[in-house]
């Protein structure tokens, strides 16, 4: 890889990072919203570095210096390293840096959806050492009108620890996408939760049985109530949710919670 190619590869990589953050919300399919400034900074740094390498080469070309990639004087002493035999030359594997560029510009893969939700690990019940639902905000006055908006993750962690059944009877509003239930009745309303990036996504879901199954991967905002299970809360695998109303929503800007 000659120097001008290296410069262009870095520039393209920087452009990929910048275009997926500055000019679209594509990055939300892969990483956390809070990661945006870091991606922008990294993309800008790569762009500046690429441009400065290309500009140096262009100046050399204009002056008609021989050889496109004469190594700079201070980078010559690499002796033969075993196997690779390239000395200080760029390893060929560096061309793989174009794969993320292709992934962002050509494939632009969508957020993980029902395919992953069917296979991924589901969120665990809160560990027993946890202070129950203490760290969750109070639900507010039960007499207050209007449904309570919640993340699915918040809903199920409440449901797992709600020994006093404060959730019972409250109308809750959840947003997620439809996932078929291969093991029996009903379907899941699910949302993927990620800690860092899409590679560590785990699924939060509630089981809906009183509505016909909508199209897989379609997004819905539902209002309804928790069906409190019989017996021990923690032994429940999937919390059931009775849907009262459901409306279709466009894909939310941030597909993860």
């Amino acid at each position: 890889m000659n120097r001008i190619a290296q410069g262009i590869v870095l520039l393209l990589l920087g452009a990929g990072a910048l275009s997926s953050t500055l000019f679209s919300d594509l990055y939300l399919n892969y990483v956390q919203p809070g990661f945006r400034p870091f991606l922008i900074a990294a993309g800008a740094a790569l762009g500046v570095l690429g441009v400065s390498v290309i500009a140096g080469e262009a100046r050399a070309a204009l002056r008609g210096l021989p050889g496109p990639d004469t190594a700079p004087a201070f980078c010559h002493a690499d002796s033969d390293d075993h196997g690779a035999g390239h000395g200080h030359a760029t390893p060929r594997v560096a061309w793989l840096l174009l794969l993320p560029v292709i992934a962002v510009f050509v494939v632009a893969p969508p957020a993980l959806g029902s395919y992953t939700a069917e296979n991924a690990a589901s969120a665990p019940p809160p560990s027993s050492g946890d202070g129950g639902g203490d760290d969750l905000a109070d639900l507010g006055d039960p007499a207050a009108e209007g449904p309570v908006e919640m993340k699915i993750q918040e809903f199920i962690s409440r449901a797992w620890t709600d020994e006093k059944r404060t959730l019972e009877g409250r109308t809750v509003r959840l947003t997620g996408f439809a996932v078929p239930n291969p093991e029996g009745e009903g379907w899941y309303l699910a949302r993927l939760q990620m800690a860092c990036c899409a590679a560590d996504a785990i699924v939060n879901r509630v089981l809906v049985t009183n509505r016909p199954e909508p199209e897989e991967d379609s997004w819905w905002r539902v209002e309804g109530t928790w069906q409190p299970p019989e017996g021990d809360l923690r032994s429940v695998r999937n919390h059931r949710f009775t849907v009262e109303t459901m409306e279709s929503v466009e894909n939310p800007p941030d597909p993860y919670e």
Binding site: I4, L96, L99, V107
Partner: protein, 357 residues
């Protein structure tokens, strides 16, 4: 992955080593491609044309392909691969920039003053330094390379490489958040990771040979402008580490999508096997160390010691890290260093897990 557009594969043939060996004016079939019109034209110009073609193909590929790619498994794989790449990119860039700054702006005498001269004393000091600097494992590899270039003992730099991503403040806080109400997990992670890193450093100081490591580049020309040194060092490190990071991302995404979670769960209730299984899982999954505590806590079927193995092994040995180390230090280094690290991490996991958890 769609076929790589035609622009790039021919260009693969023209790495600097090849072109030096082949001589400048030998006609080559690679770049520019036959029939291009100017087979003997300046390579610089040809490169620009190839990339112009590549950019056009990107746009065309986007128009033609993006709606037709519908295979769910492929898209999930592509999403995970893109996610790992984007997640690692800032850490790689900042790690490389820090390493280049160490090379360009900090005089070598500084390290000789700060670090103990004796490698056996320098190793724990380097491990403790890892506790202070936040950074992902992708960042610590080029930084360790930069430290070696400045004359820090390889054993101490390697200890820093292992300790920094495992026990830095961000990771410890993330662990405390993930394992809420179980501070012993944070303590166990700190103790086991620090112990393993220092042990590997001491073993390397005793047994390691310098020719196992790819010789670091000769020091720069003292008269070169510092900004130029900074730029060249960054370019060099990015080109060497970046491709391997992508390679590791490819492998990790494949494992992530292909291996069913049930396989992992199937071994959960066997005491020793479950620890080894989660250690292996950490190696192949290659989750960033700032996130791995959240993954570990989701593996509810496993014993605390097995989760500790996931937390201790993951930041020290994983697929993308192995590829990155191979690219930076050479494969004859990786062949020795990775098994040593894995063994030390497992021993400390069992000991600390037995004592604390």
């Amino acid at each position: 992955m769609p076929e790589r557009p035609g622009g790039s594969p021919p260009a693969v043939r023209t790495s600097l080593g090849d072109s030096l060996a082949a001589g400048w004016d030998e006609p080559d079939g690679g770049l520019p491609p036959p029939g291009w019109g100017r087979p003997r034209g300046p390579r610089r110009l040809a490169t620009v044309w190839v990339f112009a073609l590549f950019t056009v193909l990107l746009a065309a590929g986007n128009a033609l392909l993006s709606d037709r790619l519908t295979s769910e498994a492929f898209l999930a794989w592509a999403t995970v691969f893109t996610a790992i790449s984007l997640q690692a990119l800032p850490f790689l860039v900042f790690g490389v920039a820090l390493s280049a700054a160490l090379t360009a702006f900090v005089p070598a005498s500084f390290y000789r003053r700060v670090m103990p001269a004796n490698p056996f004393a320098a190793v724990p000091a380097a491990g403790a330094a890892g506790m202070v600097l936040p950074g992902c494992e992708c960042a610590s590899v080029p930084v360790a390379g930069g430290l070696m270039k400045r004359g820090v003992a390889p054993a101490a730099a390697l200890t820093f490489l292992l300790a920094a991503p495992a026990i830095n403040p961000v990771v410890l806080v993330a662990t405390a958040v993930a394992f809420a109400g179980r501070p012993e997990m944070v303590l166990a992670r700190l103790a086991a990771s620090f112990g393993a890193a220092v042990t590997v450093g001491w073993v390397w100081a005793r047994l390691g040979r310098t020719d196992w490591l790819r010789p670091p580049r000769a020091d720069h020309d003292p008269n070169a402008p510092r900004l130029q040194v900074f730029r060249e060092s960054m370019l060099h490190d990015l080109m060497h580490a970046g491709g391997f990071l992508v390679l590791g991302g490819l492998a990790a995404a494949t494992v992530n999508v292909v291996v069913p979670r049930e396989w992992v769960a199937a071994v959960a209730d066997r005491p020793v096997l479950s620890v080894l299984a989660l250690a292996l899982f950490a190696v192949v999954l290659s989750v960033c160390s700032e996130a791995d505590a959240f993954v570990a806590v989701s593996l509810t079927e496993f014993s605390p010691t097995a989760k500790l193995a996931f937390l201790v092994v993951g930041p020290m040995v994983d697929l993308k890290l192995i590829a990155l180390q191979g690219g930076t230090f050479g494969w004859s280094f990786v062949r020795r260093f990775v098994p040593l690290t894995l063994a030390a991490a497992l021993v400390f996991t069992f000991v600390i897990g037995g004592l604390l958890l």
